[in-house]
Every structure is written in C-alpha cells, then in structure tokens.
C-alpha cells in the first residue's frame, strides 16, 4: 500500500517539528527516513501512524485519507524504539494482542502467532515474559506483534537504536530479508546513514522539519542535493572551499592540472587505510588513501604533495 503525505506541518509550542512536508512512498517499498535527532523524522512517522495529529496537511494510505482516522483504526504496524513490550503479557500474548482485539477465532490466532514466532525465531520463548528476553529478542517480538494483524504498512521508529552494534547489524540484514519475504510497505526511521544505505530501497533525508532530498542510496551518496546531505551521508573534507569526500581527493607528487599544493602534517595508518592530514594555503583537510597509494607516494610527515578533487 502506498503512503502519501501532503503539506504536513506539526508544531510543539513554538517549535516546528514538521514544516510543510510532502512524502510519497510507493507500495511495497522499503524506505528510510534519515536525519539527525530532533529533525522531525520520528514525528513524520508518528503522523503517518496516527500517534500524532498534524496541524496542517493530509496523510493518506493506499489512497484513503487517514488524516483524522485514529491510530487504532488505521491498521498500521508500528515498532517502537524501546520495544513498547506489554510487560504483563507473555511473548505469545503480546503477538496475539492485535488479533485478539480484532476478535479473530482462537484457532486462527494460535496458528497465526505460531507462524510469526517461527518467522522471528522466537517459537521456543513463547511463554516467556518480555523482561526475560534480550533486547534483540524483544525487538523481534515487537516486529512479530506489528505484523500479526497483517497491517497495510509497517512503520519502525529507530527500531535498532537501543541495541548494541553486533545485534544491530544482524537485525538490519534480517529486516531486509524479512521485507523481501513479506513485501509489506515499510518505512523506518534512523539517524544512522550506514543503516539507511544498507537496508533501504529509497532514502528520505529529513532535517529541520523539512525533506532535504529523496533518492536511492547511491543517488544520495554520489549526487547529494546540498552540503547538508553530503555531510550527513558520509565523511567530508574541504578542498579549495568546496566539500569533497576524503577518498575523492587525488594526491600526486608532481603538479597536475587544477591541483593545489600542500604539506602532509600527520599520517595515521588504520588497517589498510591511511589518513593524511594535509595543510594547504587554503586551510587544513584530510585525505583517505590506500596503504598502497601512500607507500607509492612515499608519504611521510613533511612531504610536499599536490591535491585535486577527482569528482
């Protein structure tokens, strides 16, 4: 099911969380809302889910206007950053909740819940209480719960934000695989550009309550619409007053067209990568080289080099 937002504005007191935002998510897509915290991305997700009412603008899901429809009538799946597990209910009852509310027959509930618990690999833990689960297990339970009643769209608010790096990486791949299997239109919020690049088909960069850019992961990385997106999507440095990626700076020993002179101030070897801090007349920058490049150039602190952006 597709999701549209038109001119959505939301204020909290004097603070403008969303400022005339448009969004178009087509059916079956896996979309990331990416941006710094406080930028409005979570608010946008909550507006879509019905947890927040916009001050202006409309939201529609599958072509139906949902702006004034309360959350419990929208049939969306929502996964919260801190799991929002029902502490007093077992894993099974947590997942069954949406189905019980919809008064589905008992046998169907049991079948569906077991199916989902299998999907998220929690079938062994069905009788546990959420407090007895690890963070990753809780989040998988929350996902199963959100999917149980076959929502029209799945919304995830920083779903892996509270997990440690290793579990986080695991769950990312797993979310991607799950989406390929279930095909439900999915929107997830993240402040981690690596996560967005790795998981999403499409990324919407949100900052200061506005959409900065929409595009595929490679579009955003290679053709950022502005300096903000450029800086947010990956490391940058400044060469000749212009933002460039540190690996897009060509370092030569001799002068080439358009190059500026500089002197290496410091070299750092991090695994196979070499970082060179270079001083130019225009200011300092840092350059990312491979170990082979650095060795060929025989770089040492104090070496004079020529620098040129290659993009």
């Amino acid at each position: 099911m597709s999701i549209q937002a038109n001119g959505v504005t939301k204020r909290f007191g004097a603070f403008v969380a969303l400022d005339d935002v448009d969004l178009d998510v087509h059916a079956g897509a896996l979309t990331a809302l990416l941006g710094p915290s406080g930028g409005g991305k979570s608010t946008l997700l909550r507006v879509i889910g019905g947890l927040e009412t916009p001050d202006a603008g409309e939201v529609s899901i599958a072509g139906r206007d949902m702006t004034r429809v309360p959350a419990h009538e929208r049939n969306v799946g929502f996964v919260f950053q801190h799991y929002a597990a029902f502490q007093h209910l077992s894993v099974f009852r947590n997942v069954a909740f949406g189905l019980e509310i919809r008064r589905r027959p008992k046998a169907e509930v049991r079948r569906r819940v077991n199916e989902l618990l299998e999907l998220v690999h929690l079938e062994e833990l069905a009788d546990r209480k959420p407090a007895q689960l690890s963070g990753g297990q809780r989040q998988r339970m929350a996902l199963a719960r959100a999917l149980a009643a076959e929502p029209s769209v799945l919304l995830l608010d920083e779903p892996f934000g509270a997990l440690d790096t290793k579990v986080r990486r695991e769950l990312r791949g797993w979310l991607r695989a799950l989406h390929d299997e279930v095909h439900v239109t999915t929107v997830f919020v993240t402040h981690d550009q690596e996560e967005a690049l790795e998981v999403a088909d499409e990324i919407v960069v949100v900052n200061n309550g506005k959409v900065e850019q929409v595009g595929s992961p490679s579009d955003l990385y290679d053709k950022p619409a502005n300096d903000f997106v450029m800086e947010f999507m990956g490391p940058v440095t400044r060469l000749g007053g212009r933002l460039v990626r540190p690996h897009d700076v060509q370092v030569t020993a001799a002068h080439v067209d358009g190059a500026v002179p500089g002197r290496v101030a410091r070299l750092q070897r991090i695994g196979f990568e070499v970082r060179a801090d270079v001083t130019t007349a225009d200011g300092d920058l840092w350059v990312q080289l491979t170990r082979g490049q650095a060795d060929t150039l025989e770089l040492t602190p104090g070496s004079d080099v020529w620098l040129r952006a290659v993009v």
């Binding site: 419990h72 929002a84 597990a85 007093h88 909740f97 509310i101 149980a148």
Partner: protein
C-alpha cells in the same frame, strides 16, 4: 598530609564508622521503640488482659457489630469513589495536556492539608440542613449530613488523594509507549485502559487502595462532625466513634475495639509491604 594518603587509612576508619553506625541504629530503634512499639505492646496488653470473655463481649455487642458493619460499608464506598477518582485523574494528569492541569493536581492534593474537622465542617456547611445544597436536597427527601451519605462524603474527602498519589508516579514512569503500541494494534481507548494501563499500574493501584482502606476504616474527626454523633442519635457510629465514646464515657471495651483496628491496620500494612516487595522483585 602524607598520612591521609597512606593505604592504612580505610581500615583505620572502619571501626569509627561502624561505631557511628551502631550509635545511629541504637538511637533510631530506641526512638521507634519508645514512641511506637512499647505503646502498641501496652495497648495490646490492656486489650487482652481482662481475658477472652471480656474481649469477646466488647467486640460482639450489638453496638460494636453495627459499628463494624457501618465502618465496612462507608470504607468500601469511599475507597471505590477515591479509586475511581484517583485513576481517572491520574490518567488525565499524566496523559493529557489541558489548561490548568498543574492547578488541578494541586487542588486534588488539597485534602492532605485540611484538618478532618475542617473537612467535616465544610461538608456540613454545604450539605447540612441549612447548607447551600442541603435545603433543596432535604426538600427532595435526601438527607446527607447526620446520615450515612455524609459519612461516606467525609471519608472520601480525607482519603481522596491517596490512590492518586500512588498511581501518578507509576503512570509517569511507565510512559505511553505500551499504550501507543496497543492503539496502533487496533485497541480503542477502553480496551487500552483495561488490557494495558490497569495491569501495568496494578501493584501501585493495589498499594494505594490498601492505604486508602486503612485510612477510611480509621477516619474519626471528619466522620465525628458529620455523623450526628453530636446530636446523640445512634446508628451512625463507626468503630472509631464507638471507641471515643467508650473512652469518654468511661465504658469498658474501648481497648478491645482499638485492638481489632490495630490488627486490621497491621494486616493492611503487611499486605501493602508484600505488594511493594513483589513489585521491587519483578
């Protein structure tokens, strides 16, 4: 200065600390002992030393039984009202945003600062025969003051904030995540309240109810004002009023009734302590 950094210091200081600790413990326990424990022991002795027949006679007289029944009725009604009020207002204060929210929180706490005598007097001035609403109500055949409804109002007044004060911190602490999750899973307000909110706050709620119950069973001043004990008619005496009457009229049986209430109170506290401990464990 050098010796303060010497490694011997921690062990050198430990005896002094534990001596201080034992001194504090002794002072604290002695205070509680003299003020509470010894008096409770003495009153127990006074209640039981006349023997079981006297004890039984004191608590099974018609006056006592009537008082017990009335106490239970009044306490039950008041706790029900206070609990409904406390939970409803607790949710409004923690889950909604409206003008005057903070003021409402302060006003709901007001009964804590009001003397029971003032509470009783206030109710008489409004619901008494010559009160603001009392006249019309009397004309409609409803009497409140010097009757059971007035006693329920007075008891509710003094115990009103107890449940509220227990549930508000818990409602704040648990936040709205679980409730929002229930909403997006399709639960309306009613379902969310009964299936998610109530089970989550149950320990605090039960604790508040137990405290309120103890307070309601034991209310004296406010009930004394509105009950008509003043006008000397019977049938509106709760247990505490009977105790006061027996002491002041030098009749026997006050200590025995008091002992029953002490046992009730301690039982309520044990239940409450148990709830609190279970809650801390989970």
């Amino acid at each position: 200065m050098a010796d303060t950094l010497a490694p011997a210091r921690p062990s050198a200081i430990r005896p002094a600390r534990s001596a201080g600790r034992i001194a504090l413990r002794t002072v604290g326990l002695a205070y509680v002992g003299v003020l509470v424990l010894v008096p409770l022991g003495i009153i127990t002795w006074r209640a039981l030393s006349p023997g079981m027949p006297a004890f039984w006679a004191a608590i099974s007289s018609e006056q006592a039984v009537t008082a017990f029944r009335l106490t239970a009725e009044v306490a039950f009604a008041s706790v029900l009202l206070g609990t409904t009020f406390g939970v409803a207002l607790g949710i409004l204060l923690t889950r909604y945003h409206f003008v005057g929210r903070r003021l409402l929180g302060v006003l709901a706490d007001l009964p804590m600062a009001v003397s029971p005598i003032v509470a009783g007097l206030a109710l008489v001035l409004v619901y008494g025969r010559n009160g603001w609403f009392g006249g019309p109500l009397e004309a409609a055949g409803i009497s409140i003051i010097y009757a059971v409804p007035g006693m329920i109002l007075a008891t509710t007044f003094v115990s009103l904030p107890l449940v509220l004060r227990e549930v508000v911190p818990v409602l704040q602490e648990i936040g709205t995540d679980q409730e929002q999750a229930a909403r997006v899973l399709g639960a309306g307000g009613w379902h969310t309240f009964w299936r998610i909110t109530v089970p989550t706050i149950r320990p605090a709620l039960t604790y508040g109810v137990v405290l309120a119950l103890a307070r309601c069973v034991g209310e004296f001043g406010a009930v004394a004002v509105v009950s008509g004990n003043v006008s000397g008619t019977g049938q509106t005496q709760t247990t505490t009023l009977v105790i006061a009457e027996r002491v002041q009229q030098m009749e026997p049986g006050a200590y025995q009734l008091a002992f029953v209430l002490i046992v009730t109170t301690v039982a309520a506290l044990l239940v409450a302590a148990n709830i609190r401990r279970k809650d801390e464990l989970s």
